[in-house]
Symmetry: C6
Subunit: 268 residues, 6 copies
């Protein structure tokens, strides 16, 4: 299944997937059915691209709230495909560049992909690639146009390409026609109470008696913020408890301290 | 008739129509009466341009929802005319260029056309040529002005030109006066249930019993998305069924899997 | 009278009026009283400029719906005046130029005119010279300012200048004060049913019995679109009927086919 | 009185006032009390600047509808003052220049004025200097700021300066604070029926019986348009009547033809 | 007291305060209590800066209607402080400069001030420094940011700085946060009837019987416009009465003429 | 506790923390519980960054009204951490620079931080770094995008980074998604009456009988303005009382004079 697949395949990868691995710093735990479903459908698209004759270009959008696990999921699909060319396009490597330079770099990634028989390109945080800001709104039309064309341009004969985009601003992307430019789209959700409980059990950082209460408080929490919160709550319990101490079960998080930290987290 | 015409003429073309051929990657099937009607009227315009003395410039707009078959139709008219100069102007070959460079390239195509006694220019996805984005809206006024002038400028004495434009943003084009700049316009629609059924029969990818149900679900589907959907639904039926397997009738698409895929498709 | 005047004078002109002649590709037929009236008043202005001492600069705007015959009318006045300097300023020869370059070219035409004792400058499609687009609206303020000044600047002592502008966006021009900058203005209308009938009779392309019905359908049609429509309707009547065949009365347009074509024409 | 003053002084001027003279191409007739009053007050300001110690800078705005005689009035004050430096700043000599170049030229005129003990600067059609256009509105902030500062900056010790501005867009100037930057302001009106009658009598172009009727029709007409209208109406009366013929009383304007022409004039 | 203070100190200054002196061309008369109060408080800030250890930077805004005497007041404080560095920053010396050049000049003044143990910088007419125009509104964000930072940046250790800003657009400054950037703010008002009377008595330009009536008419008049008005009213009384004649009491202003002039003044 | 911690650690720092020390010119007094709480939580984050494995990047926003003590607080945390790299990024050192230069400088600070195992970066007055102005609003999208990416980009393996931002425009930051980019956020408030009383006692500038009344008047006053006010009120009490005199208890502030000064302070 989903998680097993991940854990089996990871060791098979070498240095070149470092970029992808950094996208899932906290590893991959079982986050509930929706996450699993999306992973499976995405892997089917990987199959389709590989085998189908009539669809040399497939494009798939992962959208959902900030921190819900979109990038980690896309990276995992990239790692788990056995495609020779897997590349992540991220604003992190293009800070401060002029929009035309960014444009050129993005085009370059596509041109490189066109040279490989099977390729995956991850367009991570598309709103950030587009320099989107809600006020105005402002964004780069140059880069928008570039993506709109690239998302529809067929690779040369005999080449196949899967593009996976991620975004937490789906309604913006929709309003500029970028959603329409994707063939399929999946919503990656926050954790429900039950998903949170499952995750907490896997992390094993609360005393058994506290898990239920903690999970209740974590309803509608994105997986990424959950990790930050756990890290915060691990501090201040009798001084210098380290992550290791917590995760290795030698010490558990005090639920009251956990509640305190919860209040500091932005958006809660 | 329409489809026959296509199939007869295609072999007569060599490498130079490669660009046009790539525009109809999935070939041309019978999509219903409206598509056929538009093809016939467009071919009459080809005739008019060739013969008439008083109208050396005829301009025709194909507008309709995304994926309804506009580009394939325009390309087919270009291929089926026996004009010595047929050229497609597309944003795909002008990614990231400055608007003035795009402008110059477009003008160049017209200047080249003016040298041929009979020419067809396809302005594909005019909204993309104009760098249109709905928010704002934003678009290149420079290119808009260029098209507005080129669509009305007469070719030199003795030269004849047919311009075919395509767009899925007809109301935008209308609001900037580009529709008015065309002599005639045709709406290329999505498939109706009956059209879809006809197409499915031609493709022969469903068991006879499923065709009606599938066609029902495909009401108001653009022909292009139909092809993508068939390709997706062909995956996941007992592992690695390839397109060939499906199209060659060795395997049929499972209708339940088809319904699942339908939900992932953007806009449905 | 008006049409006679045209036909008499035309032969008197040589190559240098080629540009003006191209503006009335389909010749000049009698379009009804309003067109005639405007022609006569414009010719009076020609007289005024020539003779009057106190008004060395007269400016006249021809405004009306797209295709109503403004440019052809202005060109005709230019041709029929016996002024040594008659020049048309059109966006067609300035495609893609920067607004300051356009500006310089326009100024150049005026400077040249100032050297001739009697000059006519036709500013054709002023909204296009101004790079006007309805959304925004956008337009070149640089060129607007230039025209606003040029339309009021007196020629040097002893020189006389008549400026004729044409536009189909009179309300825009009004909103930026360009209308006010003209001394006089005339509205060039579409054809009324009776005008259309008169034109059809002159063209002689319908069987006598069909003329009335056709004219009825052509109520509120601009003269320019009427010509396009006739050219379209001339196709598809028993294969390859050429314009000549139609105009030479050997063949007449089938009224039913005419109705079909009417529906394809943009804006009807 | 006012008109006499003008006529006496004019001959005293040489070539250098050519620019100013061109501003009153049709001479100066008696236009009614308001025009006279403004002239007198403006001449008092001329006096004040010359004599007063505490106000080395006086600024005066003439505002009113298009064609009401503002520029001619300002030019007349300039001519009638006996100031060694009188300069008109007009958009006519700055067509197509970049706003910073215009700025520099305007500053230059002020710097030159600062060198003369007594100077008058006429800022003609300020809205045009500012590249104002009603849509937006758009205008040059650079030039606006320049004028706002120049209108308040004191000349060097011992130098005196009178600035006269003209505009037909007073509400715009008011909204950007330029009106406030002037010390005094006068509204130059259109002609009232009685003023028009007086002017017509002076021009002597109508038969005595027609004057009253004509004046009635000219109520609220700006003096400048009145001249254009008279010139138009002088044509078409039995062929080639020249201005001279009309003004020299050999021929009179036919009142019916006059009414016709009135309808063609923009804004009536 | 206030006025005495002014008159005593002025002679103590040499050429270097010329710029400041030009700011109070009409000298300083007693304008009423509010003006006096502001002067005193500002002088206390001068003291505070000199003596206090904890507030090396004090910033003070003088705001009020156009012509109310803000600049003259600020200049007077600058003159009356015995600070070694007193500098006025005004748009008058930066006409037409690019905003970044203006920025650099402003920064330069601050850097220079930082070198002196005690400094005063007068930011005169801040809205003009910011190139503010009400329509839009438009203004230079670059200069705004510069002022916002400079108004809060501490001088180097051991240096003290008093910044005095003046503006007649306080609500604009407030809306961009510039008011908040000042420590203290004072409203400099127009003259009330009583203040006006007091001023008129000091100027001694009316006959005793007219003073009350004139003062009544001057209620809510800014002191600066009062001076302009007196200068205007001094003209036209029997020809060439000079300022001197009026101020030296040889001649008095006729009250009726004074009323006439009052109507011409902008804003009354 | 909080204040003690501060006072103990300060001496341990050398020249390199000068920048940070200048941020708390008036030292650190006990401002009430909320300030203390924030300090403690921020120090816990310092701990977390140092010890935790799973959160190499922690980001913390201090937001609150102008002058509430945010910068002093952030500087104090920076000083009290024993991190080898502590850097403040402030608009003060980037006046007048182009946004791309600012961008580069900010990136440089992060790149430097990435080289140290433990780093703190203080982004002071983020709205000022972003060149934010409320009207429009206007701001630098380039810098916004840069911060949005830097606030999420993980440091290289083995490096840890704490980012502390300060702002008094939290709702703006929220509207452009910058708040969301922080892990935790704290509101730094103005002084309540009780806090003010506590501060006044520590400063010891009022007579015992006046403290309560003064504190009452200082309810909702930011700590920074309180210091300015005290400095102002210390002037004008019998001439030249210096800060020292006041703070050294030789002289007390007169409560009536204190009330007067209170009215001059902007925003009260
Ligand atoms: N099943 C899972 N799916 C996704 N992420 C997981 C899963 N299990 C654990 N994680 C961890 O959760 C975090 C998800 O963060 P990620 O950056 O993918 O979220 P995101 O939705 O891309 O956030 P943002 O909206 O900020 O881009 C990663 O650190 C990842 O290691
Ligand atoms: N009769 C037909 N007419 C048009 N296209 C057809 C027809 N039969 C099959 N097709 C296939 O359907 C697809 C139509 O896609 P096409 O790109 O022309 O649509 P479009 O309307 O131009 O889309 P877009 O709005 O994205 O530009 C092509 O792959 C073409 O091969
Ligand atoms: N009496 C007439 N007046 C004007 N045009 C006529 C007349 N008779 C025939 N025509 C023909 O009608 C056409 C008028 O087109 P024209 O380009 O002048 O229209 P327009 O109003 O300038 O159009 P647009 O709004 O597109 O600029 C010309 O081809 C001209 O030859
Ligand atoms: N008493 C008068 N005052 C002003 N103009 C007069 C007078 N008598 C005759 N004229 C004539 O009337 C015309 C006035 O035109 P002028 O250009 O001054 O108007 P304007 O208000 O400046 O117009 P615009 O608004 O277009 O700038 C001139 O040709 C001038 O010779
Ligand atoms: N007590 C006074 N205070 C201020 N100005 C005075 C006083 N007495 C006389 N004046 C004179 O009044 C005038 C005030 O003009 P000033 O330029 O200072 O006004 P302002 O408010 O700065 O105007 P603006 O809003 O145009 O900048 C000066 O000429 C000054 O000499
Ligand atoms: N406990 C305290 N916390 C913060 N500041 C204190 C404290 N005690 C005294 N102060 C003093 O109060 C002042 C706080 O000013 P600071 O610049 O930190 O405010 P700020 O909120 O950053 O203001 P701004 O919004 O203008 O950036 C400093 O001078 C500091 O020395
Ligand atoms: Mg992500
Ligand atoms: Mg297409
Ligand atoms: Mg035309
Ligand atoms: Mg004028
Ligand atoms: Mg001032
Ligand atoms: Mg701060």
């Amino acid at each position: 299944d989903f998680l097993n697949a991940l854990q089996e395949i990871v060791p098979a990868f070498g240095a070149s997937t470092d970029d992808l691995e950094r996208c899932r710093l906290n590893g991959m735990v079982d986050c509930g059915n929706r996450h699993k479903h999306i992973y499976e459908r995405a892997m089917l698209l990987v199959e389709q691209v590989k085998v189908s004759r009539g669809s040399p270009l497939v494009t798939c959008l992962l959208e959902g709230p900030s921190g819900s696990g979109k990038t980690a999921l896309a990276a995992t699909v990239g790692i788990d495909s056995d495609f020779p060319y897997v590349k992540i396009v991220s604003a992190e490597t293009m800070i401060g560049l002029h929009e035309s330079t960014k444009c050129a770099q993005i085009v370059k990634v596509f041109e490189d992909a066109y040279k490989s028989p099977l390729s995956i390109i991850i367009l991570d945080d598309i709103e950030r690639l587009l320099e989107y800001i809600a006020i105005g709104p402002r964004f780069s039309n140059l880069i928008s146009q570039t993506l709109l064309v690239l998302l529809k341009r067929l690779p040369p004969k005999g080449k196949k390409l899967l593009v996976i985009g991620t975004t937490s601003e789906v309604s913006f992307l929709d309003s500029i026609g970028v959603c329409d430019a994707f063939s399929v789209a999946y919503n990656v959700p926050k954790l429900k109470k039950d998903d949170a409980e499952q995750v907490l059990r896997q992390l094993n950082v609360f005393a058994e008696d506290d898990i239920q209460a903690a999970a209740e408080a974590l309803d509608e929490m994105p997986i990424k913020k959950l990790y930050m919160l756990i890290a915060m709550a691990s501090r201040g319990v009798g001084g210098g408890a380290s992550d290791e101490a917590i995760y290795s079960e030698r010490q558990k998080i005090m639920i009251s301290h956990f509640y305190d930290c919860l209040q500091d987290v932005v958006g809660y």
